[in-house]
């Protein structure tokens, strides 16, 4: 029997505060049409229920953008956003789940929670990127991605709007590579191959 030549999809998970949105938009704009990758975005954001963020992202990419609902299927070539006021978890390789338990680092969604959950499920297929932010959320999660065989990146703290978050990850030795803002989409594209 012929062996399947299909490679299992990779998962790119990106975390940051609301201020890192512009950077994410630039990354998404430069993506190829069918990258064959799952994108998961976790932003610290106000608990607004409108789908502003979803709309904003949809205008800058041809990939479908979804604010995750409970038990939403995980599909490559889709961009998923953690909904406000919920932690975003990976239930299994095929679906998300949501959790409205206690805030972590004063945040719900928490970047740590999603990073750790993505790492536990997808292990060496994960590419984790931590961007600008004002608290230490995300650093431990990024370390977990690294420990379980994934590849980890941070935005150069000196170029980030708020350098504290990526710096925490560097201090924890969670980051395998520090990348200048301009080079982020290029580096990511290389890793997605």
């Amino acid at each position: 029997m012929a062996k399947s030549t299909l490679k299992p999809f990779k998962v790119v998970v990106i975390g940051g505060s609301a201020g890192s949105l512009e950077v994410v938009l630039t990354i998404l704009e430069k993506l190829p049409a069918h990258p064959g990758v799952v994108f998961i975005l976790v932003f610290h954001r106000k608990n607004d229920k409108d789908s502003l963020l979803e709309n904003l992202l949809s205008h800058r990419t041809r990939l479908p953008v979804r604010e995750v609902e409970d038990k939403e299927p995980i599909l490559p070539n889709h961009i998923y956003i953690a909904p406000p006021d919920y932690h975003l978890l990976i239930e299994d390789e095929a679906s998300f789940s949501l959790d409205s338990s206690e805030k972590i680092h004063f945040s719900r969604p928490s970047i740590d929670v999603t990073f750790e959950s993505v790492a536990e499920t997808f292990r060496d297929r994960v590419i984790g990127l931590l961007l600008s932010g004002a608290n230490s959320d995300g650093a431990k999660g990024l370390l977990r991605i690294r420990e379980l065989g994934g590849y980890t990146l941070v935005q150069n703290p000196e170029q980030a709007e708020l350098g504290y978050m990526p710096q925490q990850a560097i201090n924890l030795q969670a980051a395998m590579q520090m990348v200048d803002t301009e080079a982020l989409s290029g580096v990511l594209a290389g890793l997605m191959l």
């Binding site: 409970d70 909904p83 919920y86 978890l89 299994d92 789940s97 959790d99 409205s100 338990s101 959950s117």
Partner: protein, 270 residues
Amino acid sequence: MLKEEELDQLVNALSEKYGYDFSHYARASLKRRVSRLMLMDRFPSFAELLYKVKNDAAYLTHVVQELTVNVTEMFRDPALFKTLREQVLPVLATHPLIRIWHAGCSTGEEVYSMAILLEEANLLHRSRLYATDLNPSVIENIKKGIFPMSQMKNYSENYLLSGGKKDFSTYYTAKYDWAKFNEKFTSSMIVATHNLVSDRSFNEFQLILCRNVLIYFDKTLQDRVLTLFDESLEKLGFLVLGSKENLRFSAIGSNYTQLENKEKIWRKVR
């Protein structure tokens, strides 16, 4: 991190020894809850937690309370409560006796929010609010009607966003760090333990609210619980779910239509 087989062992122990069935809870979240419990109660290893659960029945209440998520607030998602005020209460008002079920209501903040809505629509005196949860300890709080004072500012803002016109503080008496809500609200409530996993339908309602409970269940259990709600809802009754929960892909979905403003409120049409 907790191993899959360890989670299975704990789930089995809780079921065999105490009849609490967590086997159809969503795994990712349950795993986090168990890890959190171990950290909080300082168990050096999983084996010690398991031993404690198996041999100390008094510890059980605490375990069940910590494995389930008890995060709630008054008028959470104010826009939803606004829609309840404007579109659902006028329909409920046509019934001589209004029966509402808050399933998995935790510490009862939502039940008090609903009681306030009913009071303001002059319907509270002919309403019965059934407040149920599987945790015996959290529902005790509902009967007392006492909530932390520190939350009142946030609740008051939510209340105003939900279309409330009064001074929210007239509904409670402040004493030190606590706010005790007016007893006219409490007296409209029927409080009981009920486990959605194992207990049956116990009445017929015109409105059922179950928000952010189904997210902790797998698809199989979600469908079972939704069927339980379907059996407990009068025709043309309303079902309210959490802001990221959906009836669309469920077994009972075809019997329901969602209200047009996109809030997670469905009406039973068949």
